[in-house]
Amino acid sequence: MAEQAIVDKEALLAELLASINQHKFAPDVAHVEIHGNQVLSRHLVEGLIVEAETIEDGVKVHIRVKKGITLKNPVNFCFGLIPDNGVQRIIIDTVIGEGAHAKFIANCTFPNAVNIQHLMNATITVERGASLSYFERHVHGPNGGVTIVPVTKVFVAEDARFSTEFELIKGAAGVIELDYGAEVEKNATVDMMTRVFGREEDRIHIKEAAHLSGEGSTGVLTSHIALKNRASATIENELIADAPYARGHVDCKEIVQDDARARAIPVVQVNDHLAHVTHEAAIGSVDSKQLETLLSRGLTEDEATDLIIQGLLS
């Protein structure tokens, strides 16, 4: 019985990694694999602590990169569900210790989804002088059937840096309710980017917010969304600058095709006369000059549009 469980676990792990086209990690690469609410595998490196416990309706994960440590390789996380239905609820608390530097890559995979919920509540603290680069890629099947609700609160301390990138380009998005918020202290930097391709009946709601509360803090919020068929998206970017010399920029671009619908709600607010925040938003069909340039190279309209969208989402 116990042997069978091990075999099943290994088979599940292999299937999970195969779905993101990943098979083997080098010994000096840290990785953690979570299927549903179960930690399947974990391999750590010096300076990185990952503790996980299964709770009644999910899994709790504590991640800490020790003070002053620079992780040589990105830490790979794989979250997913192989069956076509179920709930994955992950509560993550991440601390990047003072002066530490790390990169995380998270692959979230739901290749067979029909009715799956992926719920994530994350708290990320990047301590003084530390940095974290977090890249989250979603790999979905062609049928949608996934509801993604990632809620992340980030605290970026003095002189620290945090960048995040959320990518959902392959497969149907399903329903996305993404909510990222960051508190940015003195001379700290936050950079948030979202790239999503919505198709069919996908419903996408992105909220990115940063509060530039420290002097000299900076923030960039970027959303690049492409929509086709009957997909719809609402993008809320909120950047509030409260301190002298805080600098920020909001960039929202949405390409809309077919019967898709898009809405952008940029909020920029400056509460200190020495701060400066800018925003740009462009929603609509493919830019006509870009299109005509590619048409004049012999691409069809569909080929040209695909290439422009591919660029926007790259």
């Binding site: 005509e292 340039t293 048409l295 004049s296 012999g298 290439l307 591919q310």
Partner: protein
Amino acid sequence: MNLLEIKNLSLFKEGRPILNSLSMDIWEGHVHAIIGPNGAGKSTLANTIMGLSGYRDFEGDIFFEGKSIKSLSVDERARKGITLLFQEPARFEGLGVSQFILAGAEDKSRAIVEDALQRAGLPPEKYMARAVDKTLSGGERKRIELASIYAMKPRLVLMDEPDSGVDIDSVKYIFSVIRELRHMGSTVILITHSPEVLKHADHAFLICAGTLVDKGEMSRMFDYFNGKCVPCVHVGQPTVDAAVQPLTAN
């Protein structure tokens, strides 16, 4: 032999004639120039030949290799071998230089990208991994446009102000590509005011207020252009006839 024939081409914008019964023969394998003062209709003519949006509704006809292309879309014309170097090239966020250059190229190899970039004076190792976006200067963007056209190996290239936005040191690469295109057998139409660019043409058409005023061998046309058209004495005159008459009388 004529590669392109323009027959009695007239184009109106908001009831105003922009091109007025233009007829031109473009000989295959030659470098032609279209010269004329600002607002003469030179770029409009290039856009009309390419079939861009807003330039499709015209009187007269355009023949490419003896067949009318009036009803063809931009991409259909491009697949026949016609292309346009835009005066102000578009920028593409996230689209790689290699992808852009290969978009119109039949040969999709890395070698063609490297060759095209080198011809345009852009070191491939520095540019292949970059995006065709706002991080490029105007001159760099223009030369990447030129590289993409070179990689396409077109039959007919319309070049709208090919040297605009390009620094003096880099202009030589523009001329080098023009020479190479001609060497490959491409026909080139240069739309320009620049005496340096005009030197690379062997035949020119002078247009003013949308009307063909004169045509002929480059050196004669260049002297004429410099002596009679700059500055243009006809700017602001109300009618095409009034604009053209004094020049043709000379």
